[in-house]
């Protein structure tokens, strides 16, 4: 980044190095967008995706595609904006990347961090991000014929975009509702906390093979 | 309290007595300029026939309305439920039905509590006394014959002035 404010081609930087890209759209730090405005926009996005969708899987894929470009851009934007120059480096390891998603990205989008981050026990390439109550699903009640749909597929698309943009290609990120299964399990154990989070959603991130190979090499490099 | 109108319907759905105290509205130039809505009583001079027709229309509307409201209430609340009154922002309608299926209806301003006891009194103390017990009045009152006799009218007048809450 050039520190001088010499006029020339390309971006002009003000003397205090604060460009328009460094500023939030909202002047105040905690300003929020209208949730209702988003809800109405999301209604239209879903009905747009529903047009011509063959089945639930297709519909989720379409929502995913709508979120993907958002993720790629948000990665850049959030890294550019971060106040600490050390943390504005693109994450190169899996864990920092997932931390970045669960913290910065989530805070930026929803005003709070994600609820949990886990690595799958069965598949080393799979990671899970838990969201107890996805904001995008706040007002959505699914009709019976679409009960397996989870509209958080849009958020999954954003996550996929971030991963891809950071150089972590994935086999795909998908959103699954786990609230009901968990309620059933809890019900069997004695109803403790049953249906506490009926909308609980897990984002399954499955990285490609080469990502894991690279991760292994990098791990060896730091330890050795 | 403001009393708008009072009706008695007999068991043949006919209105056998009605009175109204609708205040005359001032005719301002602005209200003349715009088209009069259905619900307002025209204040020009020479439409008394129109007004009369409007009144009988009102009677029919009110009868139909309380009849269907009563049926709806019985459907929802059971056979022994009785419809008492309803209120809009402009007026309140009070309802009392006698054991002989005569219906007493009164329209007042919205601040009144339920006036059913008063309607009952009108029936018991005035209608029964001066109409039913009047040897000159017929048993049925098609077209309101025999209801609006002098005793009943006078009794009603004093009742409205003296008994109803001010």
């Amino acid at each position: 980044m050039s520190s001088s404010s010499t006029p020339g081609p390309g971006l002009r930087y003000p003397s205090n190095k604060k460009t328009i890209y460094d500023r939030n759209l909202n002047r105040t730090k905690n300003a929020e967008l209208s949730r209702a405005a988003f809800a109405y926009l999301f209604i239209e996005m879903i009905s747009y995706a529903q047009r011509g969708a063959k089945d639930v899987g297709d519909l989720e894929q379409r929502l995913n595609n709508q979120g993907y470009p958002l993720g790629v851009r948000l990665l850049d934007l959030l890294l550019t904006r971060s106040a600490n120059p050390l943390s504005s480096i693109r994450p190169t390891r899996i864990l920092p990347l997932l931390q970045f998603i669960a913290q910065q990205l989530y805070r930026h989008l929803f005003g709070r961090p994600a609820d949990a981050l886990e690595r799958s026990g069965s598949d080393a390439a799979q990671y899970m991000i838990f969201d107890n109550e996805p904001m995008v699903n706040t007002y959505i009640s699914l009709p019976r014929e679409l009960s397996s749909l989870n509209c958080a597929a849009f958020v999954a698309g954003i996550i996929e975009g971030v991963c891809d943009g950071a150089g972590f290609p994935t086999e795909g990120v998908s959103a699954h509702s786990v609230g009901e299964q968990e309620a059933e399990a809890a019900g069997a154990e004695g109803k403790k906390g049953a249906a506490m989070w009926p909308g609980k959603t897990v984002f399954l991130i499955k990285f490609k093979k080469e990502v894991l190979e690279r991760e292994e090499i990098l791990a060896r490099g730091t330890s050795g | 309290m403001v009393l708008y109108s009072f009706y008695i319907f007999d068991r043949h759905t006919e209105c056998i007595y009605s009175r109204r105290w609708t205040p005359a509205r001032p005719t301002s130039s602005s209200s003349k300029a715009r088209p009069q809505s259905e619900g307002s009583i025209a204040s020009n001079g020479d439409n008394s026939t129109q007004q009369a027709r409007k009144h009988t229309d009102d009677e029919k509307l009110i009868f139909g309305l309380v009849f269907s409201l009563r049926n709806m209430v019985q459907k929802l609340g059971g056979e022994d439920d009785t419809f008492l009154s309803y209120r809009t922002t402009e007026y309140k309608l009070h309802y009392y039905e006698t054991p002989t299926r005569m219906k007493f209806v009164m329209l007042t301003d919205t601040k009144q509590n339920n006036l059913r006891p008063y309607l009952h009194q009108i029936w018991a103390n005035l209608y029964v006394e001066y109409v039913v017990k009047n040897p000159l009045a017929p048993v049925e009152h098609p077209g309101g014959i025999g209801v609006a006799n002098e005793m009943f009218e006078r009794g009603l007048e004093t009742f409205f002035v003296a008994v109803l809450p001010a």
Binding site: I140 | L76, G77, D81, L84
Partner: protein, 151 residues
């Protein structure tokens, strides 16, 4: 306090939602319910016309006439010996009917809250079609929570 039931009637007079919270009203078949809703829709219209003393058109000459001012409202509260029914009509013509005990206080706030839940979980639901029966799980759950907490 007891809230018996809630009906929602669409602007064309169809019953789009009904929910019983507490026994007390007669059990009606869905056909009868539809009929009650339809006839109430008509009666509501008549109660508007019966206004004995329509408010004079008080439109100041310097402001544009609004479609909402001085509009006669129809039936708002219906009292019977067993229950009390409050009707709240939104500006878009949807009617909420709440059946409660005769002595129930604060019905206005209850209805306002229900309207809020409706605006949130029904109108903001991508899978709800306007004028169609309301089948929204979150709306049901919201009503349950709200009415039970108060009850």
């Amino acid at each position: 306090m007891v809230v018996f039931a809630l009906f929602i009637i669409s602007k064309s007079g169809g019953l789009i939602y009904n929910r019983e919270f507490h026994t007390g009203l007669n059990k009606l078949s869905s056909n009868d319910l539809l009929m009650v809703a339809g006839s109430f829709h008509g009666m509501h219209e008549i109660t508007k016309q019966l206004c004995p003393n329509p408010p004079p058109p008080t439109i100041p000459s310097n402001t544009a006439p609004t479609p909402f001012a001085a509009r006669a409202t129809g039936l708002e509260v219906l009292e019977t010996s067993q229950f009390r029914m409050q009707c709240f009509q939104t500006l878009t013509g949807v009617k909420f009917l709440l059946f409660t005990e005769p002595q129930q206080p604060n019905i206005d706030t209850i209805l306002k809250k229900i309207y809020e839940l409706y605006a949130d979980f029904v109108m903001k639901n991508p899978f709800y079609t306007v004028e169609m029966p309301v089948r929204c799980e979150k709306f049901d759950r919201g009503l349950d929570g709200f009415v039970k907490v108060r009850g």
